[in-house]
């Protein structure tokens, strides 16, 4: 049975495929997949899912390996091997607020998709905040008065800027990472080691 690799759909998928092609793998079946969520190449079976679901598929052994953002891993902390960083998908976690915002002495409302990271960050600072969970477009929250600030990933900062937000503080850096199912890594080590080593060699170059 071919090793199964779970890929995060969207931006990371495109970056991974060009990285994968640079390692000499044939990616034609993957670029021509259309809307299919499961595609096989000569060597691997790929499944395409949202980042958090990639960790679930890997944790439960449906996929042997997964490509997922470090931000998702920090938020969910799945029970998987978190083998290595990959040279794409770089971003950082930041607190951002409206330009010129003056902080009141009241307890702050923070909107974020990353509630666990937000909680840990403010707990570490010794500051009590109310966290409001949003699923996306969190930049809207301060503009519409839902929250005083947001905690979100920032790549170029363009989205923040275009929505009138500025970074208050940056506190974590991430990249895409390679994860593995705990049992698969041991049981299928002969099948998985070559690809892991190839990904690692490229990372070290």
């Amino acid at each position: 049975m071919k090793p199964v690799i779970a890929l995060t759909k969207g931006r990371l998928e495109k970056q991974f495929l060009s990285f994968f092609a640079s390692l000499g793998y044939d990616i034609d079946p993957l670029t021509e997949k259309g809307r299919k969520l499961r595609v096989e190449t000569d060597e691997f079976a790929f499944i395409f899912a949202k980042g958090p679901d990639v960790t679930t598929y890997v944790q439960y052994g449906i996929a042997d390996l997964g490509i997922v953002g470090g931000d998702i891993l920090a938020e969910i902390q799945p029970d998987v091997y978190d083998l290595l960083p990959l040279p794409f998908g770089q971003c950082r976690m930041a607190v951002a607020t409206e330009k010129g915002k003056s902080w009141s002495n009241q307890k702050k409302y923070i909107a974020s998709k990353y509630t666990a990271i937000t909680k840990a960050f403010f707990k570490d600072k010794g500051e009590s905040v109310e966290i409001i969970k949003l699923e996306g477009s969190v930049e809207l929250a301060p503009i519409l008065g839902l929250a005083d600030a947001i905690v979100d990933i920032v790549e170029t900062g363009t989205t923040l800027k275009e929505n009138g937000l500025v970074i208050d503080e940056e506190f974590m850096e991430f990249s895409a990472r390679l994860i593995a199912n705990r049992s698969s890594l041991k049981i299928k080590r002969k099948q998985l080691n070559p690809i892991i080593e190839k990904l690692q060699q490229k990372e070290n170059e």
């Binding site: 052994g61 978190d82 890594l185 041991k186």
Partner: protein
């Protein structure tokens, strides 16, 4: 009416298989001269969360009793048995248990275990006996697609001693090793100014596989007495298992303990088709330090749920229906004894064709 998340009813074949696994386990361990022990389902949280044991409080099923003490549903057999054994006669060395543990994790709330505890025994003897019991039991269940993994807590402990880590730093490094997160392992150790140890630990995260891993490290650590001893021990166990039968054995020298009480060899059995862990255990002499006891202790626990999932369905006995009337019910009841191998049901109505394998009709018989 709904069940809480993680709880589930057990019915039919699944229950039959669980009963079969438990019955076979009992047969195997009694044949190997183990004695049964059972601890209560309700205990104090402190038994499991004190620094010697260190279980994660958030995963326990807990409540306050009338005095304000926190009580829990038994989350771990080994710890509970250690507490109980402190009151037992010292001559008994080998114990077995069967029953549920309760924790909130990915497997739900309740999982059924069957396990062994061996105390006050020569270290190698106890470890061999644990592993051989695992092989004996899995063979009795006709399970042969499995792999046994060996590891040792002492490698990480030895290599990190010069780092003089505080509790938080040690926790972070242990967690990064557990996740085989090489970049973080390297960074954390480098921050302590030990590049050589950083490189050694990173290499260790990849030190898993067959006997060649042990051969490589035997050479690598030939001048480091403590580590060489550990590799020698793992090699003895590895070879013993291979010699015993055609068993797939592997080692992971980068494995770290997950509970503070593990202190030496660690073992784990993987079902190779599903990847599920069917047993785990190891040495935990440290657990008895909380009772000021310096004794050897080792054991392992089988996951009955996982084993029940993969064994062949147990053949059910032939179904026989005796059709009786109120007048012939006693005769029918006595007739049960003539069919000790069958599942015998008594009905007052003739059942549908095909419902039973055999039907005996006494309904119209006249009794004296």
């Amino acid at each position: 009416m709904f069940l809480p998340a993680g709880s589930q009813d057990q019915i039919g074949e699944k229950l039959n298989n669980q009963a079969h696994v438990n019955q076979m386990f009992r047969t195997v361990v009694q044949r190997r001269d183990y004695k049964a022990i059972e601890t209560p389902v309700v205990e104090y949280a402190e038994t499991f969360t004190n620094p010697h044991v260190g279980m994660d409080f958030s995963k326990l099923l807990k409540w306050f009793d009338r005095e304000g003490e926190i009580e829990v549903l038994r989350p771990d057999w080994t710890t509970a048995i250690a507490r109980a054994l402190m009151k037992q006669h010292r001559s008994q060395l080998k114990w077995f248990y069967q029953g549920s543990i309760f924790r909130q994790d990915k497997n739900g709330i309740e999982s059924r275990q069957a396990g062994i505890e061996i105390i006050r025994t020569d270290a190698l003897l106890g470890e061999m006996e644990s592993l051989f019991t695992a092989v004996d039991f899995l063979s009795t269940l006709s399970i042969d697609n499995y792999m046994i993994e060996l590891g040792h807590t002492g490698i990480f402990e030895y290599l990190t001693t010069p780092l003089e880590l505080d509790e938080k730093e040690e926790g972070l490094l242990r967690s990064a090793m557990h996740d085989k997160k090489k970049d973080v392992v390297y960074r954390l150790v480098l921050e302590k100014g030990h590049e050589e140890i950083a490189e050694q630990l990173v290499t260790l995260t990849q030190a898993f596989g067959g006997i060649s891993v042990l051969d490589d490290y035997m050479e690598k650590w030939q001048d480091v007495h403590e580590l060489k001893e550990i590799v020698c021990l793992l090699k003895k166990l590895f070879n013993a298992l291979e010699e015993l039968g055609d068993i797939d054995v592997t080692v992971d020298l980068g494995r770290v303990r997950q509970l503070p009480y593990y202190s030496g060899t660690m073992f784990r059995g993987y079902l190779t088709n599903s990847g599920e862990i069917c047993f785990s255990g190891g040495r935990y002499d440290k657990l008895y330090k909380q009772f000021n006891q310096n004794i050897s202790a080792v054991g392992l626990a089988f996951d009955v749920d996982q084993l029940a999932k993969i064994i062949e369905p147990q053949l059910e006995a032939k179904r026989l229906c005796i059709v009786a009337s109120p007048n012939t019910h006693i005769k029918a009841e006595k007739m049960r004894r003539d069919y000790p191998e069958c599942r015998v049901d008594i009905q007052y109505e003739v059942p549908q064709v095909g419902e039973y394998d055999q039907i005996i009709n006494l309904a119209n018989e006249v009794t004296g």
